[in-house]
Amino acid sequence: MLNFSLRLFPLVASAMAMNGVQGAIVTTEHLGIELVGERAALVPGTTAWLGLHIRHEPLWHTYWINPGDSGLPTRVSWTLPAGFKAGEIVWPAPKRFAVDGLANFGYDGDVLLPVALDIPGDATPGSTVRIAAEVRWLVCHEECIPGKANIALDLPILASGPIAASAANVPRDTSFGATRAALPQDGAWKADARLVGDNIEVQVRGADLTTGFGLDAFAEQPKIVSNAVPRVSQRNGIAVLEFAKSDYFTSAPSALDLVITRKGMRALHVHAAFAPGAPVSASP
């Protein structure tokens, strides 16, 4: 899910802050949401990037794929022309929200949740297509309010590129380029996980994890590790992340996916296979 194909979309360092097209903003309780496209048109047989651009009211947040101790992830259901295919949300690294001793993972402020759209080879140049999404979320501050919006974009099909970026009112740090550049970076760090007593230990081999400064980690899969910040230590040049087991742990999955964040540095994604021999189940 996180192997974003950067090759398809070379980053332009001086990318315009306003670099997409957008549908109408739906403003609801405590947030505004709109569907934005990176480009002004779609080309048959290619992949384009769309995004759910969410602007939260100050103090309010929505949730990551794993919401933490409470909450719900934002969900999308698409209505697309025949042959078009939308991917899953490619989740930016979450923030941690601590409320009354509970830990939640999500986003506040402005966020762009990118989604890849495959355009079929037989899409008709000269036509216009409607890309529509029904989005559901839970927005919380101290209280939580479920929300739903139908958002859409009408985009022309053009026979070939390059397609101009066109104006969309997306702030620079939530532009497609900036969002992609900040997505959890994949693949460079090898990790494995094991059960050690009531803890789950993840060993990560990665040069950039040595400082441990401001390091936090978020499990994509719920029910495996507790949502508190892990203890981080160094053992023979390997970063060791110790989590308490989730209260709801029943069996070790084949692997645990973690997003690791570090102050001032790009987030990482590690896929930690569970070491063989981990107890597999607990029946009552």
Partner: protein, 203 residues
């Protein structure tokens, strides 16, 4: 997961020894507690020894709780359970000044509004029992068998949402666990991820 079957032969009063979030474990004794209910009566878990007990964390203002009350899902489960001799204790750990905090009379209004039939509605404004059970969300459910052993803990059902339309497709874990216990079977889903609003504990 640890299973302390040796300890499970009675209700062990672990009481309030551990600060912060403890959490009971399926297969281990449910910690005893003492709270005042909405009519001012003291209620303890141990007074129900010999009966199956359901604990349900509640916040009347939470949209997840509203889903399961407005649809009649929780009231229906309460009615079925209590008419079968099962004890259903609804617990509110909302701190004063926070959403969903109730006093006895507000709790009474809530029960009346939804024709709810818990055995009692317990007020836990200081969050002590919520922390003792590691209650994180509203709703959050526990099933304790007649011997005082935790047999289920987790969500109300299998589809985390605030949408009533999901109820028909969801597995309701508490009635399922109660039926399995009654039939002398192993509880097939002993834990699930609780979902809902965070419990509004005080600081």
């Amino acid at each position: 997961m640890k299973f302390s079957f040796l300890l499970a032969s009675g209700i062990a009063a672990i009481a309030f020894a551990s600060p912060g979030f403890a959490s009971p474990t399926v297969g281990a004794p449910a910690p005893d507690f003492s709270l005042t209910d909405s009519s001012g009566k003291p209620q303890t878990l141990s007074q129900y020894k010999g009966k199956t007990v359901v604990l349900e964390w509640n916040n009347p203002g939470c949209p997840f709780v509203k889903k399961h009350y407005e649809s009649g899902n929780i009231p229906k489960q309460q009615a079925a359970a209590t008419s079968a001799g099962i004890v259903w204790l609804t617990i509110n750990s909302g701190a004063e000044g926070k959403q969903g905090h109730v006093d006895g009379s507000a709790a009474g209004d809530f029960i009346a509004r939804y024709h709810a039939t818990p055995t009692a509605y317990l007020i836990d404004s200081d969050g002590k029992v919520g922390h003792l059970y590691g209650a994180k969300t509203t709703p959050h459910l526990f099933v304790i068998d007649a011997a005082g052993t935790v047999r289920y803990m987790g969500g109300i059902d299998s589809i985390a949402s605030t949408d009533k339309d999901d109820l028909a497709k969801a597995t309701q874990y508490v009635p399922q666990a109660l039926a399995e216990l009654k039939a002398g079977k192993v509880v097939s889903v002993p834990t699930s991820m609780p979902y809902g609003c965070g419990v509004k504990y005080g600081s």
